[in-house]
Amino acid sequence: MAEWFRDLYQQFTFNFIEGDRWKWIVQGLGETLLITFFAVLLGIALGVVVAFIRSTYDKNAPALKARGGPGRWLLGLVNFLCNVYLTVIRGTPVVVQLLIMYFIIFATSNNGTLVAVLAFGINSGAYVAEIFRGGILSIDNGQFEAGRSQGLSYLQTMAYIIIPQMFKIVLPTLCNEFIVLLKETSVAGYVGIMDLTKAGDLIRGRTFSAFMPLIAVALIYLAIVMLFTWLIRKLEGRLRGSDH
């Protein structure tokens, strides 16, 4: 037993302490968190816009049709573009999207991190959009009618009545999407970004011992996800204030 521990300790120092290789892990972790953070922001922004356009179209198309005019065509067009976006993004693997972004669309850029943020953010936006839209759809139409009957405009009804209720409903699903995104960024190594996974793999390549670096990387991902889950659960508890 004692020998086993001594062996473990030796492996640990060999993999992480020698040559300050722990710094790779720290750097990689920083890169992973950076990419995830900004991709989440971009994903939410895109998701809100797309979900808003799609539900506005679904809700107002008949009324606009009756009224006529250019509004209907304009809304129809952006709705169509949103549908194309959702179909393409959700129909292709994220690694392929990342490669296309890096080697074709932004071939002249050498800022891999920025390209990764864009690729993962645009990818996540499609899923977040559908989560939000599902949330909006799940709210009883009576809520919408109550707001409109008081004289609130479509936008005001959305902002004060529908969206706040939607957020509470989608929070668990949204949280899940962020967890997925965090782990999805582990493919960033495909385009030469040194994220957490890549860092672990580099150490493995240097020390020829797989166990320590890969298990360490796995544990770090796990710890972040558990922390995040705990934070969201706290938040959910606070939001649940209104349904006793």
């Binding site: 009324a63 009756a66 009224r67 009883d140 009576g142 809520q143 009618e145 109550a146 409109r148 009957s149 008081q150 004289g151 609130l152 405009s153 005001q156 004060y160 009545i161 706040p164 209720q165 509470k168 204030g241 209104s242 349904d243 006793h244």
Partner: protein
């Protein structure tokens, strides 16, 4: 009294179709200030649809609705402005579940009339006092009984100081023992001179406070008049058979 006061809502040949289904087939009616109009009729007769077209929650497919001198079916009219003067109470209450009773009531006045929070809350508290719910101001809708919810929904609409109140079967979703408390609030409102249009199955309420009763069937007004007369001396066979079922 009815005909002496000015016309508030003038409905002319109102029609509404859902696809091929024609729900309203030409309803014409004047609602005067201070009227309490009760709309009765079998289910599927179009009475809820009629009420919901009055504030354009359902867009009419024909005819016109003139409210306070403005044809609100005109596409150029900003309906949101006119809806502020038409309070509506729904069968399912439709309180905002994420807001307290007080916030439910003050949302629209604060956002639309730019009423300062303190002023809006003062009015809301006065109204809650009137319906005996002042102690529930900080409660959330989920903490209220059905009857309490509907009383809050009524005073929420009153916070906008409307010129007319529309009620869409306000007691149909309530447990029987809670119907009375809601009807009492509505009766008091009627006595205070509020113009009301009420879709209901409560014949007792209709008899007691309505100035005018409409019997709607298959999208047209089959009979109308003072409720006492309508209920005791129905002319048409359709109203006779309807009353035989509900009275």
């Amino acid at each position: 009294m009815t005909t002496d006061s000015p016309v508030l809502i003038s409905v002319n040949n109102l029609q509404k179709s859902f696809g091929n289904l024609q729900v309203l087939r030409g309803v014409t009616l004047d609602i005067h200030k201070g009227d309490v109009v009760v709309v009765i009729g079998p289910s599927g007769s179009g009475k809820s649809t009629f009420l919901r077209t009055l504030n354009l929650l359902e867009l009419p497919t024909g005819g016109s609705i003139t409210f306070e001198g403005v044809d609100i079916t005109d596409r150029r009219v900003n309906i949101n402005r006119h809806r502020q003067k038409m309070g509506m109470v729904f069968q399912q209450f439709n309180l905002y579940p994420h807001k307290t009773v007080l916030d439910n009531m003050t949302l629209a006045p604060r956002k639309l009339l730019k009423t300062p929070r303190a002023t809006a809350e003062k009015l809301a508290m006065e109204l809650l006092e009137r319906v005996g719910l002042a102690d529930r101001a900080k409660a959330y809708p989920a903490q209220l009984s059905g009857g309490q919810k509907q009383r809050v929904a009524i005073v929420r609409a009153l916070c906008m100081k409307p010129d007319v109140m529309l009620f869409d079967e306000p007691t149909s979703a309530l447990d029987p023992e809670m119907v009375g408390e809601v009807l009492d609030v509505m009766k008091e409102l009627a006595r205070s001179g509020m113009t009301m249009v009420v879709v209901t199955h409560e014949m007792g309420f209709a008899r007691e406070v309505a100035t005018n009763a409409l019997f709607l069937d298959e999208g047209v007004i089959v009979e109308q008049g003072p409720p006492e007369e309508l209920f005791t001396r129905p002319q048409s066979d359709r109203l006779k058979s309807f009353l035989a079922k509900v009275l």
